[in-house]
Subunit: 410 residues, 2 copies
C-alpha cells in the first residue's frame, strides 16, 4: 500500500529545498514550453555555474599527495572524525598566519567534506528551532536553505553593492537593529558570493563590534579570501580580535582558487565549542572528509613560488575583460568584483523570467549561468557567473549571453 | 561578551550526540581515576573498532581508477549531486543483479559520501518531528542518534539473538504491534550490526508483509550483505517484491568487505521519492561524494575472479578462531556471526562498568573494542569487535581481552 501520510512540515521543508536551478544540476531541468527566439549561436560551451578545473588545474602535486595517503593505508583511511591530527596541526599553523590569530589544532579546527560540509555542520551546531539567523541578501544560496532546514527564522539584511565603490554596502543599521532584537547567529561570505565584493575594514570592524555588544555568534565563509585583486584590502574578522573567540567560526577550503573540488575538502576553525558540536554531527553525517583526500591538504598554502600570484593575475584579467564586455553592452549593470571568481550582472528589463532566461541561454548558446533568485527572491533580473574559465571561451560566452538577452528586452 | 543563551532543545540534542565512546574516537577519551588491576599485557595492538585495511587491502586497481578520475578532470570533479551518470548506470545494473530487482539509475539511485552519508540522507528525507521510527536493539548506534537528531520518536524492537540458531530472533509480534500503532519508518541492518546475525528468509518475508500491510517505509542497511558465511541464506528484501517500491530504500557501500573506506563511498537505491529528497539534502550537506573517488566504484562488484570468495573465506576463518576462544573462556556468551565482520560477545558478570572496561582494556592490553551501550542502553556487559584484522594478532588480542576481563569478574 502507499506510505502513511507524512507531516506537512516535512513536505514543506523539502519543497523549499529545490535543486533544479542549483549550480551543476542544469541537466535535470524541465524545458517544455520555453519561448525560443532566433537561431542558436554557436560557440564553445561554457558552464559558468562553477569553475573549470581543466582551464585552471589543481595545485601541482595533488595527485601524488593522494597516492601517498593511500599508501599510508589504514591510519589514513580511518582518521578521527575531525581529521588526521598531524594534517590539522600543519594546516592550523598556516591558517593562523593567514588570518592573523592563533589556532589550537587539537580543539579549534575540523576538516570537513568540502566547504559546504563545514557550513552544514556549523549551521547545524548553532541553529535551534525558531532561532533568528541574520543572513545577507544577496549571499550564497545554501545559507538560506540551511537556516530553513534547521527551522531557524531567516532575518535578511540588505547589501547595496551598486551604491558604493569600496566595501560591500551592507546595511549596518539594519544589522545592528536585528542584533538588538534577538538574532543569535549571523552568517556571511567574504568576498561575497555572488557579487565578488570585499567587505571594507570599517565594515568588518563594525560587524565585530555589533556582534560582541549583542553576544551574537558569527560564521564567516572565507572560501575565496586568498583570491583578492589589486588594490583591495582584505580584513580577517578573527584577526581583529574584537569578538569573544567562542562566538566566531571561520570557514575556508581549497575547492575554488586552488581547484581541489574533486577531493571534497574544507576546514572550519575558531570556537572550540562549535568545533566539538560539529564533530558530533559529522559522526552521524558522513564520519569524516575522505581519509586519503585529507593528505592532499599538505600542499595548500604551500604552493610553488608564484603559483597563487599567477592564478590571481589570470583571474583578474578574465574579470577585466568580462567587465568591459558588460559595460559596452547597453543596459547592463555590473559592480566590479574585488575578490573570488563570481560576478553578478544585472540585466536590462526583460519580458522573460530569469528562470526561463537561464534555460533559453543554455539551449540557444550553450552557456550556463545561475539565476539571481537563488541568492535572494528580489534578484529577478540578475544572474551569477563563475568566471574561473578558459579566458577566451569565457569572454565569447559573455558576448553570446548579451546577444541572447537582447532578444528578450522589453 | 558571551553568546546569547540558546534553546535548551539544541543543548539537549548535542548532549545526546556524544562521540567519546564512538569507534575511532578512543584517542579523545578521558581516562582519569580508572581502577587498573595487574600488569599490562604486551602484544600487537589491535583496534577492533573498525576493520584493518592494511591486513585486508582494498580491491586491486582502486588507486589506478582514482588516478583515471583525476585525469578526466572537471567533469569528474563536478558531477551531479547524485553522482556521475555513467558510474550510476554501471553500478545500478550490478546492484540490480545482486539484489534481484531492477533499478533505474537515473531516478532510483544516489551515490553518497560513505554508507553513513546514505543513512543520514535517508533518515533526513523521511523523519519529521515527532514521527515514530522503529529500530532494532541491538543495531548500528547511528540509527538511534539519527532518529534523535531529526526529532523522531524512537520505538525499539528487541532481537533475541541468543534465543535462536538461525535468523536474528527479531520480535515480530512487537514489530507488528508498533506498525499498527503509528510507526512510519523502520530502519534495520542486515547482517545485523553488532551481532553479525543474518535475518532468515521467513523474517524478511514477515517484515515485508507487515510493512506493506501498514504502509510503513523501510530503510535496510545492507552494508555487509556481500560477506555471508558458509551455509547461510541471505534474503534481499527488495528482491521479494512484496513491498510498494516507493516505500523501500536499500543502502550499501564498499567501505567494509572491500576496504574502500578511505574513499568515502556509498550508494542508496530504491524509492525515487526518497532519492529525490536525498539529493536535495545532499546539495546542502556536502554537495556530492568526492568526484574523483566516484570513479573507484567501477571495480566494485567486478573484482578479479575469486577475490571476494577469498576475502569471505579469510574472514570466516578469523571468526571461527575467535568464536572458539570465547567458547573456551568460562562465562562468555557469543552468538556465531553469519555475515559481516562484527561479533558481539557478552561477558560474565563484572564489577566494572562496560565504559570503564573498554578504557582499561585499551590501557592494559592495547585492545580497542566498542561498548555494547552504544547499540542499546541494555547491553551493559557486551562489546562489539570488528574482526577484519590480521588473523594472528586478532586471536591474540582476544586472549588478552579475556584475561583482562577475568581480573574484573564478580
Amino acid at each position: 500500500m502507499n506510505a502513511l501520510p507524512e507531516s506537512s512540515l516535512l513536505t514543506e521543508k523539502f519543497a523549499k529545498l529545490g535543486v533544479e536551478s542549483a549550480p551543476g544540476q542544469e541537466g535535470r531541468q524541465q524545458v517544455d514550453s520555453i519561448d525560443l527566439r532566433g537561431d542558436r549561436i554557436v560557440g564553445t560551451p561554457v558552464d559558468f555555474s562553477h569553475g573549470d578545473v581543466d582551464a585552471h588545474p589543481p595545485i601541482p602535486g595533488s595527485l601524488e599527495l593522494f597516492q601517498r595517503g593511500y599508501e599510508v593505508g589504514g591510519s589514513q583511511a580511518y582518521t578521527e572524525y575531525r581529521g588526521q591530527a598531524a594534517i590539522r596541526e600543519q594546516l592550523a599553523a598556516k591558517l593562523a598566519e593567514f588570518t592573523g590569530a592563533p589556532i589550537d589544532s587539537d580543539s579549534e579546527m575540523i576538516l570537513t567534506p568540502g566547504t559546504q560540509g563545514a557550513l552544514f555542520l556549523a549551521m547545524g551546531a548553532n541553529i535551534g528551532r525558531g532561532d533568528k539567523v541574520a543572513i545577507v541578501e544577496p549571499d550564497y544560496f545554501a545559507n538560506r536553505k540551511l537556516v530553513e532546514f534547521f527551522e531557524g527564522e531567516l532575518v535578511p539584511v540588505g547589501m547595496d553593492y551598486f551604491g558604493t565603490d569600496s566595501g560591500s554596502g551592507i546595511d549596518l543599521l539594519k544589522l545592528g537593529e536585528c542584533f538588538r532584537y534577538g538574532v543569535k547567529l549571523f552568517v556571511f561570505s567574504n568576498p561575497n558570493n555572488p557579487t565578488g565584493v570585499v567587505y571594507s575594514p570599517d565594515e568588518i570592524l563594525a560587524i565585530a563590534e555589533l556582534a560582541e555588544t549583542h553576544g551574537v555568534r558569527v560564521i564567516v565563509d572565507q572560501l575565496y579570501s586568498r583570491q583578492i585583486f589589486d588594490g583591495v584590502r582584505y580584513t580577517h574578522l578573527r584577526g581583529l580580535d574584537k569578538l569573544n573567540s567562542d562566538n566566531l567560526l571561520t570557514i575556508i577550503g581549497p575547492s575554488k582558487t586552488e581547484s581541489l573540488s574533486g577531493f571534497r575538502l574544507g576546514a572550519a576553525f575558531g570556537s572550540s565549542q562549535m568545533i566539538d558540536r560539529m564533530e558530533k554531527l559529522q559522526a552521524i553525517v558522513s564520519l569524516r572528509a575522505a581519509g586519503y583526500c585529507q593528505t592532499v591538504l599538505a600542499n595548500w598554502f604551500s604552493e610553488p613560488t608564484g603559483w597563487i600570484q599567477a592564478r590571481i593575475a589570470a583571474h583578474q584579467a578574465i574579470r577585466d575583460d568580462i567587465h568591459e564586455a558588460f559595460l559596452r553592452a547597453n543596459g547592463f549593470k555590473l559592480r566590479l568584483g574585488e575578490g573570488g571568481s563570481y560576478l553578478f550582472p544585472q540585466m536590462p528589463e526583460m519580458d522573460i523570467s530569469i528562470g526561463d532566461f537561464v534555460k533559453v541561454l543554455r539551449l540557444q548558446a550553450e552557456v550556463i549561468v545561475t539565476p539571481g533568485t537563488q541568492f535572494g527572491p528580489q534578484f529577478t533580473n540578475s544572474f551569477r557567473i563563475n568566471f574561473s574559465q578558459d579566458h577566451t571561451a569565457a569572454v565569447q560566452a559573455i558576448q553570446r549571453t548579451i546577444e541572447i538577452a537582447n532578444r528578450y528586452r522589453v
